[in-house]
Each structure stands twice: as structure tokens, then as C-alpha cells.
């Protein structure tokens, strides 16, 4: 591990943290265009964050230390996840610290803290959001793991950099199994990031809300951290999708010239995925909470199908 590696790691981490609200802004902008509304500025998420950071914190009388810790823990988990996923380069020192399974565990850690903190004040909305979030996660996690199984089988590794290496350096080959995995991954991405059709990110004060219901008792910088972490999570999920399904362009080890190119490739890919996400969200309608198991069950079956196809056709 040399100095340059650490530098690369640091750059990628800071880049991800800094760019995450921009990705969210881009998705919002695309969505506004698609829906014939005048779009808010691309920088709107930053303005919201800044405003929240400047405000004082209003805590409920019976809020405990858990509620005050949770935003920091959740944010830190997402920063770590952003450091692990190969966004611009594969030889990141931290990527050794976690393979995809550990990454799933990391998301689970953040989620459990968020769900626990939502129960802390003891409001009806908070507990409602908490149990819905945990339910969706419990159903999404098996599907996500099955999605990871197929590329892990092809790459003989569960570490993301190795999977990226396998796909980018090997001969260009069509993997039908990966198509199934990709569709399943998109469905899990929608569910895990509280997007339509599972949850509505622009909702507030609705009985159907999930993610927003957990954030009701936060204010000031706590809320800012939670929102930022949420934006980071969306970006990390996109980055995982890129690494698994569109890895071309990510800089190889010791390929310093590839880094600027990788940056450009990353921006293009993130923009494309963001636009796609906005399109999906415009076309779909939010579904009832008890339809979500069917939705995620389908994601799971698609992922299993992909894996079976891998065994039958590609192995």
C-alpha cells in the first residue's frame, strides 16, 4: 500500500461524499423535466443541506442518546461504503476491507441504527416507518445477495475489484445471466433507496411514507446528515450497479492515466443511470405496502433465474 494508493482512496471517498447531493439534484431535475415541471437548480440539495446545517437542533423531550448518535453512525457507514465501492479505480486499500457481503452488512448496520432511532421518541409515525423499513429490507436482502451471487460465480470472487477485473480484462462475452441479475438489481435499488414504486421520496406527511416517517423527529444538522447519507446511499448503489454491470472505464491498478478518463466515464454513467431512474419513477406509480413482497419476490426469482442460467448455459 503506497502513498499514491492512499491518496487515490482519499480522493475517491471525498469525491463521492461531495458529489452525492449533485446526483440527487440531477435525478430530481430529470424527473421535473419528464413531468413537464420547471426543474429546481442542480445545486438545490446543497442549499437544503447548508440551510439545515445552520439551523438549531430541536429534540423531543424524551429523545435519548441513541437518536443523537444515529445520524453520525448512518453517515459514517455510508462514507465507508463509498470508500469501498470502486468508483474510479479498483486498487483501493479499503476495498480489501469488505466484499459485497460485508457491504450488505454495512448497509444493514446503518439501517438498524436508523430504524432503532425512529422508535426512540415513541411516535406512531416513527415506529410505523421503522417496521416498514425493516420489512422491506428483510425481503430485499435475499434478492440482493442472489444478485451478487451470479457475478461472484463468474468472477470467482465476492470482492468488487476482482469482479470488475474479470469483466474488463476478460474477452468480451455475453452473459445472459447478468441481464437477469441487472433487472433484479434495479428492483432492489428502488426498494432499498426508498424510490417509487416502493416509497415516494418527495412525500411528506403521508400515511404511506416509509423513509420520511423515520426522519420526522430530526432537525438541524441531524437531518442534514441523514439526508446526505441517503443521497450517498443512492450514489453507492448506482456505483455498485456500475461496477457489476457496466464496469468498462474504471481505472485498472497502476493505471494513473486512466484515472481522469475513469472520472469522465463515471460522470457519464451516473448521469445516464440518474436519467433512467427518473424515467422509471415517472412511469411507475407507488404501490401498496403489501404489494412490495410480490415486487421483491419477483426480483428474487429473477436473480435465481439468472444464477440457474449461469449454471446451465455459461458454466
Amino acid at each position: 500500500m503506497s502513498f499514491s494508493h492512499v491518496l487515490l482512496q482519499l480522493i475517491q471517498g471525498l469525491l463521492a461524499v461531495a458529489l452525492a447531493p449533485l446526483v440527487l439534484g440531477w435525478v430530481n431535475q430529470c424527473r421535473a423535466w419528464l413531468q413537464n415541471r420547471s426543474a429546481p437548480s442542480l445545486l438545490q440539495p446543497y442549499r437544503v443541506l447548508l440551510k439545515l446545517l445552520r439551523k438549531e437542533i430541536v429534540l423531543a423531550h424524551n429523545a435519548s442518546w441513541l437518536l443523537r448518535c444515529a445520524p453520525y453512525v448512518v453517515f459514517a457507514c455510508m462514507v465507508l461504503a463509498a470508500c469501498i465501492v470502486p468508483l474510479v479505480a479498483t486498487d483501493l486499500p479499503f476495498s480489501l476491507a469488505a466484499d459485497v457481503i460485508a457491504l450488505v452488512g454495512l448497509f444493514a448496520l446503518a439501517r438498524v441504527f436508523m430504524a432503532l432511532a425512529a422508535m426512540d421518541v415513541g411516535t406512531a409515525f416513527g415506529t410505523l416507518g421503522s417496521r416498514r423499513e425493516m420489512l422491506i429490507a428483510a425481503l430485499a436482502e435475499p434478492a440482493l445477495l442472489m444478485v451478487f451471487f451470479t457475478p461472484a460465480l463468474i468472477g470467482h470472487s465476492t470482492a468488487l475489484p476482482n469482479i470488475v477485473e474479470t469483466f474488463t480484462t476478460g474477452p468480451l462475452q455475453l452473459y445472459p445471466s447478468m441481464a437477469f441479475a441487472a433487472v433484479a438489481f434495479i428492483m432492489v435499488l428502488l426498494a432499498e433507496n426508498a424510490r417509487i414504486p416502493v416509497d415516494n421520496p418527495s412525500t411528506h406527511l403521508e400515511l404511506t411514507m416509509v423513509h420520511e416517517a423515520m426522519l420526522l423527529e430530526y432537525s438541524g444538522r441531524h437531518l442534514a446528515l441523514m439526508d446526505w447519507a441517503h443521497a450517498l446511499k443512492l450514489m453507492v448503489y448506482m456505483a455498485i450497479g456500475i461496477a457489476l454491470f457496466l464496469p468498462w472505464g474504471i481505472a485498472r491498478p497502476h493505471d494513473w492515466l486512466g484515472v481522469p478518463l475513469a472520472l469522465i466515464a463515471m460522470v457519464v454513467k451516473l448521469m445516464a443511470i440518474g436519467a433512467g431512474l427518473a424515467l422509471l419513477e415517472t412511469l411507475a406509480a407507488k404501490m401498496r405496502i403489501f404489494k412490495v413482497p410480490e415486487f421483491l419476490g419477483m426480483a428474487f426469482m429473477l436473480a435465481v433465474l439468472g444464477m440457474l442460467i449461469h449454471f446451465l448455459v455459461e458454466a
Partner: protein, 654 residues
């Protein structure tokens, strides 16, 4: 050294006139610590056997300590040290029952568990096994004046004896006509695969009854709530593991040859048990029942690991078998740590509030900060979250699942990954269960007025729980060091060493078989998270507002709220109830909208009762009615029976 510890338990046991729980339980805690050290030291040693001059004439007790038993002795030592310290505080303040009797039974229970772990012949094993069952039975019915508790104890006793019969038969098959019951003789018995399969199945049933494999799990959710909390902790944390020890001993040590379908069977039963336990834990409303179902789930996960190891070993893929076995053993120890911790936490909560029902707790984090903080560590660990210990074993188990495509059997290749998905579902559901458990007990508003007077646990209780929580953290952070210590077990049991992969990278990184395959570093996790929190916190404080003020909860501006508006345990489990309805037997009554006094009730029963145990009980009843035909209760008739029997026997002999 090992005898010293055993002697200490033995000494502490007969002194039943001890007036002060504190003294004796502290002594036994020292015994526990000694056992921990002995177990750790014994991990690296080669097997040491010994013949004791006890027992019947011509049937001396054989004992043997090898790395596998050392590992379980370590587990017993760590957990019992904590439980003993906790008991010192718990029973001192009146934990119910006659303290002298409890003290005696408690130590007999501990000592017999040690004997089970070191026994080297079937005779001593069964004696120890039965005294363990009996001692724990008496501990369960400490509060024997309550009819429900007596019923729970009875169920436990019946299942325990069914299991014991199966184990006895298994040993009978294993010795195969040599009529010597030492384990050494069994190792060398030339067993055909057919008899081997019979022995394995009997062992699976026998040890399954004690461990709680589906469908023999029914005693767990009955006995755990009935027993005093330290006893539940010990039973769930340690006693279930002695059954796992027995299964490992029989299937990897005594049986020299394995067949792949044994492993598949164990895998299937394990996954079914885990799934069943997770779903039922999610819908429980009694905190100890919830933990009991969670134990069933964890035992299922452990059995899954055993099954995988068996499959790999049957195909002579020893390295992969070692990975699966590592996951299994790690999870055994982990479960002993966090489940004991959580049961002790429920004990502290019950002591402070006299409530066991989740519907009457809540908001205890303010009143019992110590218990809440320590229980939070246990909660995060059992939910399988990095960087704590529960995640390490789950990670290893997932890795060994991912290695299964190397198996030379294409059907297994396709079906085992689906098992992975089921395991993922179980892990995710256990997160759900633990959020529910911790959230409903410790967070939110207190659901009863009396909870406002709850007091935090005493020093002894805090120390006990702190000890377990510290182990959870350490085992989570430096798994490599511990896995290296476990290596002799893998060499002994499956003939493979994980040294190469463990030494390949630094002590910070765990790897399954090679660093290229996958690696995980809990230390990096913790450091980065802590660094971000500290830097972020300082930065925010430096540049932005630090003002903070307290106000009524926002709650969407709803205003009037009370404790009954937050989710109960019932409500929190509702989605699971809805989705997994087919697996549950639900008795639910919704009030009509016009009901002036609406009442809602919902009861969940184990469908296994209805579908399996009740028919069997009816059959037994019917059979005994048939036998009743010949029973008249008149002495003359019985004399005729004996006369006829004698005649028949004579006719046979002559």
C-alpha cells in the same frame, strides 16, 4: 489445571447450606474464568486421555480432552462466569425458589455439562447427559407452584428423554457388536455406510431434541420463559451447544466416513429450523419467548454450517469443510455470548419492572442506561451487523455457501445457492426481530406508569453483562487471531488447516480461502466509522450552529400523543404475520366498527403442535386404551398372566 476447575465445581456443589448466594455464585464465577483459561490453553494441545477410577466396577469413566472439547469448555467457561456473577446479584435479591436448592442444582448442571464435554465413553456421556437434563429440569421448575411452569417442565422432560433414548441407540449402533462403549472403540468400528447412516440419523434426532431442531423445538419456547433468567441464559447459551458438540463429535469424530446426503439432510433441517425460528420470533409478544425462538433460529444456522461441512467433507473437499466448520464453531461461541447477554438483560429488566410482556415495557433506555447500552451491543451482534462478532460467523457461512459451486454434483450446485437466499432471509429477519426486541423494550414512551420507577441493574449484573459484551466486541474485531487458535480443531476433525489463508494476509483481514476470493476487516470498519464520526462531529461543531433545544415531539404536528399510540410488539410483528400467514396458526378476532367496547385479540400457535404432536398423543392414547383391555386391576388376573408367561417361557426354553 482442568481437574482443578472440575474440582471447584464439585466442591461448590454439595455445600447446599450456603446462606449467601453471593459467596457461592462468586466462587462458581471463578470456576468459570478458570474454565475459560483451561479451554483457551487446551485449544492448542493434542488430545489427552485419562481413565478415572470412578463408576461401576469394570466400567471406569474414560475422559479425554481434545481441541474440540476444549473449545466447548471455553464456551462454557465464558458464559458460566457471566451467568454466575449475574446470579450472585439476581438470587441475592430474591430470584424465587429455595436458594440452597437452586445453588445445588445450578452447580450440578454446570459440572455435568463439563462432564459431557470431556466424556470419552458412552457410559459416562449418558450419565452426564442425563444429570444435565435432570438438573436443568429442576432449575426450570424453580417456581413450581405455577401450573404453567410445571407443564413447561414436563414438556421439556419428555423431549429430553426422547432425545436421550435416540442418543443411546446411536451409541449402540456405533459400537457395532464389540460391546465396548469407549469412543475409541467406536472410532475403529468397521461401520458399513448403512449402519453409519442409522447412527447419524439417530444422533441427529437425539441431539436435535436437546438443541431444538425442527420439529423437536417445541420445548424451547415453553421452558425458557418458565425458568429464571440466569437459567434460561445458561440453557440457551450453553446447553444447546452441548448438543451441537455431541452432533459434531458423532458425525466428524466417531463416524469415520460421511455420505453427502447426511449433510444435505442436516442442511435442509437447519435452514428450515432457522427460517421457522426467525418467523416465529418476529411475531412473539413475550420477550423471553422471542429470545427462545431466536435461539431456535440460531441453532438452525449452526446446523446449516454443520450440514455444509458434512457435504464438503463427504466429497473430500477438506479445506472448504474447514471453512464451514469454522463458521459453525464461531457461531456457536457467538450465540453463547450474545444470547446469554440478552437473556441476562431480560433478567435485569424483569427484576426492575416485574414485566415480561413486551406490551407493557418501553422507554427503559432512560431509566436503565447501563442495561440498555449493553443490551444494544448484544442486539447489534445477534442481528449480524459488522463490526461485531455475529457478522463474522455469518460472513464465513456465506463464504462457504459461495464455495459450494465447486462440488462435483450438479444438483447440489443448483440447490445450495437457493439455501443461501434462505439464509439471507433468515439473517435479515433476525435483524427485524432484534430491532423489534430492543425498540419495544428500551425505546419509545413507557407503556405503563410503573415503569417510571424502574431502577438500573446492580453492579454484579453490570459486570456480568459487560464481560459478555466485551467478548462480543473482541471476537468481532480480531476474528483472525481467534480462528488461528481454532485451527487444531479443523486439523483434527476434517484434516485441513486454514493456516495458509489466515496467514496470507495481515491479522486485520479475515479471508475464507484466499484473499483474492474475499476478505473482510472489522478493524477498518470500526476505525473508519469512528474517524468519520469524530471528524464530522468536530467539523460540524466548528463551522455550524451548536445550538440545541428540547421541545415536545414533532410527530407531524399531531400534538396529543400517548404511549398507546406507538407500535406494540404485536403491531411491529404485523407485517410478518401478514406475509408469512401460511406458516403460522393464527387465531385472530377483529372487532366490528359498531362495537361499543371494541376488543381485539390475536393468538399465534405453533402449527407443529396441531399437525404433529396432537395426532401422536392421540395415537398413544388409543394404544394405551388397547392395552387397558387386558388390565383389570384384579390380582387374580395378573397372577394368571404371570403363570401363562412362565409357561410360555418354559415352552420356549425346553
Amino acid at each position: 489445571m482442568f481437574w482443578l476447575a472440575l474440582g471447584l465445581f464439585g466442591l461448590a456443589a454439595p455445600v447446599e447450606r450456603g446462606r449467601h448466594a453471593r459467596l457461592f455464585f462468586s466462587l462458581s464465577a471463578i470456576g468459570g474464568v478458570v474454565l475459560t483459561v483451561v479451554g483457551l490453553a487446551g485449544l492448542g494441545n493434542w488430545p489427552q486421555a485419562m481413565v478415572l477410577g470412578l463408576g461401576l466396577p469394570d466400567l471406569p469413566f474414560h475422559v479425554r480432552v481434545d481441541p474440540l472439547s476444549s473449545f466447548f469448555i471455553l464456551l462454557l467457561g465464558v458464559a458460566s462466569a457471566a451467568v454466575s456473577v449475574f446470579s450472585a446479584g439476581y438470587f441475592e435479591r430474591g430470584g424465587g425458589g429455595d436458594i440452597r436448592l437452586v445453588c445445588l442444582q445450578y452447580h450440578v448442571f454446570l459440572a455435568s455439562m463439563v462432564m459431557v464435554l470431556v466424556a470419552d465413553d458412552a457410559y459416562l456421556f449418558m450419565v452426564a447427559w442425563e444429570s444435565m437434563a435432570l438438573a436443568s429440569y429442576f432449575l426450570v421448575i424453580t417456581d413450581h407452584r405455577v401450573a404453567e411452569i410445571r407443564r413447561a417442565g414436563f414438556i421439556y422432560l419428555v423431549v429430553a428423554h426422547l432425545g436421550a433414548i435416540a442418543i443411546l441407540l446411536a451409541f449402540g449402533v456405533l459400537q457395532l457388536g464389540q460391546w465396548t462403549y469407549t469412543f475409541d472403540a467406536m472410532r475403529n468400528a468397521p461401520l458399513s455406510t448403512g449402519w453409519g447412516a442409522v447412527a447419524f440419523l439417530l444422533a441427529l434426532i437425539g441431539f436435535g431434541a436437546k438443541a431444538g431442531f425442527l420439529p423437536l423445538h417445541i420445548w424451547l419456547p415453553e421452558a425458557h420463559p418458565a425458568a429464571p433468567s440466569p437459567v434460561s441464559a445458561l440453557m440457551s447459551g450453553v446447553m444447546l451447544k452441548t448438543a451441537v458438540y455431541g452432533l459434531l463429535r458423532v458425525s466428524f469424530d466417531l463416524l469415520q466416513v460421511q455420505v453427502w446426503w447426511w449433510g444435505v439432510l442436516a442442511l435442509a433441517v437447519g435452514l428450515a429450523t432457522a427460517f421457522y425460528g426467525a418467523v416465529f420470533a418476529a411475531v412473539q409478544t413475550d420477550m423471553k419467548r422471542l429470545l427462545a425462538y431466536s435461539s431456535i433460529e440460531n441453532i438452525g444456522v449452526i446446523l446449516t454450517g454443520v450440514g455444509l461441512a458434512l457435504v464438503f467433507h463427504a466429497y473430500a473437499m477438506n479445506l472448504l469443510a474447514a471453512v464451514a466448520l469454522a463458521a459453525t464453531l464461531y457461531h456457536c461461541l457467538n450465540h453463547a455470548l450474545f444470547k446469554t447477554l440478552l437473556f441476562l438483560a431480560t433478567g435485569a429488566v424483569m427484576h426492575a419492572t416485574r414485566q415480561r410482556s413486551l406490551g407493557k415495557l418501553g422507554g427503559l433506555i432512560g431509566r436503565m442506561p447501563w442495561v440498555a447500552a449493553l443490551a444494544l451491543i448484544g442486539t447489534l451482534a445477534i442481528a449480524g451487523l459488522p463490526p461485531l462478532n455475529g457478522f463474522v460467523s455469518e460472513w464465513l457461512l456465506f463464504q462457504s455457501f459461495l464455495l459450494s459451486p465447486g462440488l462435483p454434483n450438479s444438483y447440489l450446485n443448483m440447490f445450495i445457492p437457493i439455501g443461501t437466499a434462505l439464509l439471507a432471509l433468515v439473517v435479515a429477519l433476525s435483524g427485524y426481530v432484534m430491532v423489534k426486541f430492543f425498540g419495544v423494550v428500551f425505546l419509545g414512551l413507557p407503556r405503563e406508569e410503573s415503569l417510571r420507577e424502574a431502577h438500573d441493574a446492580g453492579m454484579a449484573e453490570r459486570v456480568a453483562m459487560g464481560w459478555l459484551a466485551a467478548w462480543c466486541v473482541v471476537l468481532g474485531l480480531v476474528p483472525v487471531l481467534f480462528l488461528r487458535a481454532l485451527d487444531p480443531i479443523f486439523q483434527l476433525m476434517v484434516g485441513a488447516t486454514l493456516r495458509d489463508s489466515l496467514d496470507a494476509s495481515s491479522w486485520m483481514f479475515v479471508t475464507a480461502v484466499s484473499p483474492e476470493q474475499a476478505s473482510y476487516s472489522p478493524i477498518v470498519f470500526l476505525l473508519v466509522i469512528v474517524a468519520v464520526i469524530v471528524l464530522g462531529g468536530l467539523g460540524l461543531r466548528r463551522w455550524f450552529s451548536v445550538q440545541r433545544r428540547r421541545a415536545p415531539a414533532w410527530d407531524c404536528g399531531f400534538g396529543k400523543r400517548n404511549a398507546r399510540m406507538q407500535d406494540t410488539a404485536e403491531g411491529y410483528g404485523q407485517p410478518i404475520k401478514q406475509i408469512f400467514q401460511v406458516f403460522l396458526r393464527l387465531d385472530r378476532h377483529h372487532p366490528s366498527p359498531f362495537d361499543p367496547r371494541p376488543r381485539y385479540h390475536s393468538r399465534i400457535e405453533d402449527p407443529i403442535w396441531e399437525r404433529l404432536y396432537v395426532p401422536v398423543a392421540r395415537l398413544v392414547d388409543r394404544l394405551s386404551a388397547l392395552v387397558g383391555v387386558v388390565q383389570h386391576g384384579r390380582i387374580a388376573v395378573y397372577l394368571v398372566y404371570s403363570f401363562l408367561t412362565l409357561l410360555l417361557l418354559l415352552a420356549l426354553i425346553l
